[in-house]
Symmetry: C4
Subunit: 211 residues, 4 copies
């Protein structure tokens, strides 16, 4: 499989950072975005940068174990990106966002272990989905500051067949992926749209009466 | 009637894609936009493209039966565009969007066969409406992956006199049209605004008490 | 009092059109914006134009009775702009917008004759307000397609001392004004913000429990 | 500690004004933004300017007592900025915004003396927070037109150990700060995101049923 060159990966990650920050999905320097490179290394956003105003210095390279190759400071959450690349060999990009919608759902229903919707045409934007007569289920794992603990709770969900398109960390946000940045971006846009549509549907029903 | 040249159609479709993607109405490469050309062919967005970042290669040409003229890959939903051009000879552009609002309404009231509002001044933005003392009704049809089945359920609604300005596919989105891209864009903007105003009105009422 | 030159008025009106369309307050070519010129004429947006993409041809000149001076087609609502200029001599700009929030309120409470809030710091953005310990009241008039009827119901509200900063037409939208386009823009931004804050406050209260 | 030069402070304040106005957090010329300069003076937005379209003339300099150094007209709220610089020596920038969310909360619960959330990962965007297993509390003070009275009610909250990252003025808005404009911007983005997530969480719970 062909993965990206560093130049094209950097260009794509800067673009997706600007797009996601504008939507409110990467506030306050949060969020991190990565792409697998041809040689096995990973291009990833440096820690603490404003994700909507990334420049070339905002994208660094780590090796497959997370060691910095070019001196930049990797995010603490690099381990979660590396886990996805390790367990899902087809994946070429990982995007981690913080949306009010996804986080709100996970906190409103603290006992739920998954978010699921069915019947939406937009499910077809998710890899492997070819019909709306289906459902998507995102696992929800508990947040933890120890990346090893967090990764351990994620691991079983990345081993199911088929794997989900993304997962939610309760009170934290979304990890999504794809074969390249474009596909991962599509997954995030679709899921964020589904969060919004789901909440609007609930608001319509709660508003009662008239069909 | 004068229909568009390919160059102007392409320019208009690229512009409307950027505008609609920015609003969240064409997420995850969904949505498709077309314009009828002078010779009877149709300019239409190629399948799988990011609708907010269309370039010249993102707009292709099909003939009136949906056959690709320039080698591009037409969307599966091309048939729904062609049906509108066939049944409504005055139509010069068709825009298909996925808005959380329209989809949410259609799912919140699964038994409803139409969405309707009355009394809004903005009804006058819809072709044929000259007063707010009227109503607009959008048919809602069930979604289906077989375009022939879907088109068959749409057909009666395009044959009413007068035809509606658009229709909703449950859990999927909106098909709207106009004599050109500008008019079709106006119809989409008006209907999306009406979805938003309708939900806000319900939220005001549900919040109770004080006028 | 110094009113605008046509060149500066046109520039300001084009800019405010782009800003308001981006906010969703001038959908589907709706809305109209005007400024009083030094000679007594009025620069006003031509009818049927996309208000977010106005160019120089999109701004026309009418005289104080509404007659076109440069051949452009004035909006049917020009009479409402002229009424404000006639009854409020200090006014140098009038902006008419269609916001889902303001319209939703007016429809949710069909018997109300005014929208009012008190205690907001942002009241100070409205001319004549210097403290938050006050209130603002916008009259609500019924919509009508006959501009003479509509203007007659507006007239008493423009004659109160002091005049309100704006008025709402039920199910239609907002008419706001100021000594120039900048002040009128400030009034619209403040009122739209207040509509949004008011609805959010109701949603917080309706969500119950915890302060 | 190194504070900013006037040129870089001005550039940063213009940028943050554009960003915040676009979000709807600085409507109708409201809001004010400042940065402490190397010599002890303060660069601050001039009064009455459109905060989304600041130019170089829109940023002025006052001394540590609020006296204008360059002839510009300081905002009445300059005293609140100076208070923060006086009581919190590490602070290099103060940003005052008006968000519908923060204001709505403070008005919906008029007896509350603080806004607090706990358990959010995004708490880590606030200085001093390194885990989500914590909470943030913003004091809420009553609004007042007399800056001396307002400052007196703020003072105790700036003297707690540790100080909060920001405070809310009921029915008015948010005062936030950081060691520089970038950190203060991060604090505002994080708090606005938390207001939005908090309201969405309540809406999910209020919509009942299904986890």
């Amino acid at each position: 499989m062909d993965f990206a060159t560093f130049d094209s990966a950097r260009r794509d990650l800067i673009q997706v950072g600007a797009a996601f920050h504008a939507r409110g999905w990467a506030p306050a320097t949060s969020g991190n975005f990565s792409a697998r490179l041809g040689g096995g290394d990973i291009a990833i956003t440096a820690s603490g940068r404003h994700k909507g105003r990334l420049d070339e210095a905002g994208i660094m390279i780590v090796d497959a174990e997370g060691g910095s190759i070019d001196g930049g400071k990797p995010s603490a959450e690099t381990a979660l990106h590396l886990q996805i690349y390790r367990l899902l060999p087809h994946v070429g990009a990982v995007l981690h966002t913080h949306s009010p919608g996804g986080v709100a759902f996970s906190r409103a229903f603290p006992a739920s272990t998954a978010w699921a919707v069915e019947g939406h045409e937009l499910l077809k934007a998710l890899p492997g989905h070819t019909t709306h007569e289906a459902s998507v289920t995102l696992p929800i794992v508990a947040n933890h500051q120890d990346m090893a603990v967090l990764a351990a709770s994620v691991a079983p969900h990345l081993s199911t067949q088929p794997a989900p398109p993304a997962y939610l960390i309760r009170g934290h946000g979304l990890y999504a992926w794809g074969r390249d940045v474009a596909e991962a971006e599509r997954v995030v846009e679709a899921l964020e749209w589904l969060f919004a549509a789901d909440l609007a549907e609930r608001q319509y029903r709660a508003s009662g009466a008239r069909a």
